[in-house]
Amino acid sequence: MSTPLYELRKIQRFYGSRKALDVEHLKIKAQRVVGLVGPNGSGKSTLLRILAFLESPDQGTFLYRGGSPLSREEEYRKEVTLLLQEPYLLKRSVKENIAYGLRFRGEIGDLNLRVREALQMVGLEPENFMRRAWYQLSGGEAQRVALASRLVLRPRVLLLDEPTASVDLASAAKIKAALGEARKNWGTTLVVVSHDLQWLYEVADDVVSLYNGRIASFGPENLFAGGWKAAPLGGAELFLEDGQRVMVSEFCGEDGVASLSPDNILLAEEEPSGLSVRNALRGRISQMLYENGSGRVLVRVVAGGHPLTARLTAEAVRDLALHPGKDIWVLFKASSLRWLA
């Protein structure tokens, strides 16, 4: 079996006394596209900074290409680059911004050509943009220039923190296309944090869900955070906005976070009766995504204001004639929920 590009074991990272990251085990294979999802403050950006060798974990084993990157960070930062959530452009022309990393590496032989290539990859016309100053760009253009300044390096690993969060639709499309090209041309490994789940599940080979600094699951996980009460007949219950109830077989405190795998959710067109499952929620399909890694379809249902994701085969989707807007019943066992914290 080939050595993974990254391997993290029992990694912990603290900011003061706050634990920002607590990863039990994570492997990232070369030339894959890995998506990182999770709510704000779940440790996604911290994980990216560790993967970019900008921060070191306080505890645990962190391996890059099978060895410790300790004291070799400068060397490895030449093959791994990170696009920040809010990109910073140097107070220079677009050309100089893109060429800067090449200059650091002393690769100035075919500088003009590579800058042009990078600009074309992100959909910016070199003739129009090369000489522009940093303050003559719109938000979307600035983000694309920032991406071009990474792509020009032909990185082995490209880490992206919300690359399409603050740009217009056209820029987002160009960014996505450029990432696809980087992967195709140079076999670049991509690790992407994004709230654009439709795109992420479409392109990612693996999706890692983070919650509270921990890996909640590999793939989309349903989380029920806080507001639990001890149920009169044992276990715990949580009331959704419309009064529907989610039941779990054990009580783990009011602020507990319960997770539910999308594989453990069943969908039904009619209200079921005579079933052993204790959770049957009425909802409406809000979104359907194709999941690249599993080849299945992720069906998002909003029940009582709470989004739930089920993983179904294409046949099941066809048989049930599922489509966004359709009313549906969501079924899962109380014992299929597990407590995260």
Binding site: E74, R77, K78, T81, L83, L84, P87, L90, F104, S149
Partner: protein, 231 residues
């Protein structure tokens, strides 16, 4: 009131007729202020960068000291430099008293805290994302420092221009160190002081107009630079 108006008219006449004495003071001022600002930038920018960028014991004390020196009166600088470069002083052998390099040395002492403090502030106020961006582009430690300084270049230039504004308008140092010697160490400010004392308003006004023009140019370039910094 008439004598002021007459002074203005005469002043313009002096300026445009190429009065040699007047132009000697202007050229001396430009020479000495250029030398002093070049020296203060040469020494002050690296020191300011270290003060703003590096973390070392006693950094806060250094910062407070530099900030205090910003308010240094020119006559105190004049006195100190005079003491150092007069015949009995430790630098007496260099023969700098009553020379242009002597005035430049004094003005450099005046400008240095301004350059150091403003450079340090410029480097400190660099966007936190800058160093992360440079690191992600593969910068090594030395490249990171150089690129950070380059990023703050407009703010550092602003520091130089601000210091120049202070140097060009000072009178205490030029008077005490230079001695206001005609054709030799007489600067615009010392000439104005002398001519006003003699009741020669026209010469004073002419030189004042030149000084105001220089101040205007300095401030104009400052606001241009400020726009660049904020862009």
């Amino acid at each position: 009131m008439d004598y002021i108006l007459q002074g203005f008219v005469q002043a313009l006449g002096y300026l445009f007729s190429g009065n040699e004495e007047l132009w000697s003071a202007i050229i001396t001022t430009l020479k000495v202020s250029s030398l002093s600002i070049a020296l203060s930038l040469l020494i002050g920018v690296p020191l300011g960068f270290v003060l703003g960028h590096a973390d070392f014991p006693g950094r806060k004390v250094c910062r407070t000291l530099v900030d205090t020196l910003l308010a240094l009166p020119t006559v105190v600088v004049g006195l100190l430099v005079y003491a150092f470069i007069s015949r009995r002083g430790p630098l007496g052998e260099l023969g700098l008293l009553f020379t242009l390099p002597g005035i430049a040395l004094g003005q450099m002492v005046l400008a240095l805290p301004i350059v150091i403090a403003l450079t340090a502030s410029a480097v400190e106020s660099l966007d936190a994302r800058l160093s992360m961006t440079l690191l992600t582009l593969g910068a090594k430690k030395g490249q990171l420092a150089r690129a950070s300084l380059m990023e703050s270049r407009y703010a550092v230039l602003m520091a130089g221009v601000t210091a120049y504004g202070r140097v060009i308008s000072e009178v205490g140092i030029s008077m005490m160190i230079g001695g206001n010697i005609k054709w030799h160490t007489r600067t615009i400010t010392t000439a104005i002081a002398l001519e006003t004392g003699k009741g020669q308003f026209a010469e004073g006004i002419a030189l004042g107009l030149v000084l105001l023009t220089i101040a205007f140019l300095v401030n104009g370039s400052l606001s241009l630079l400020r726009r660049r910094v904020q862009a």
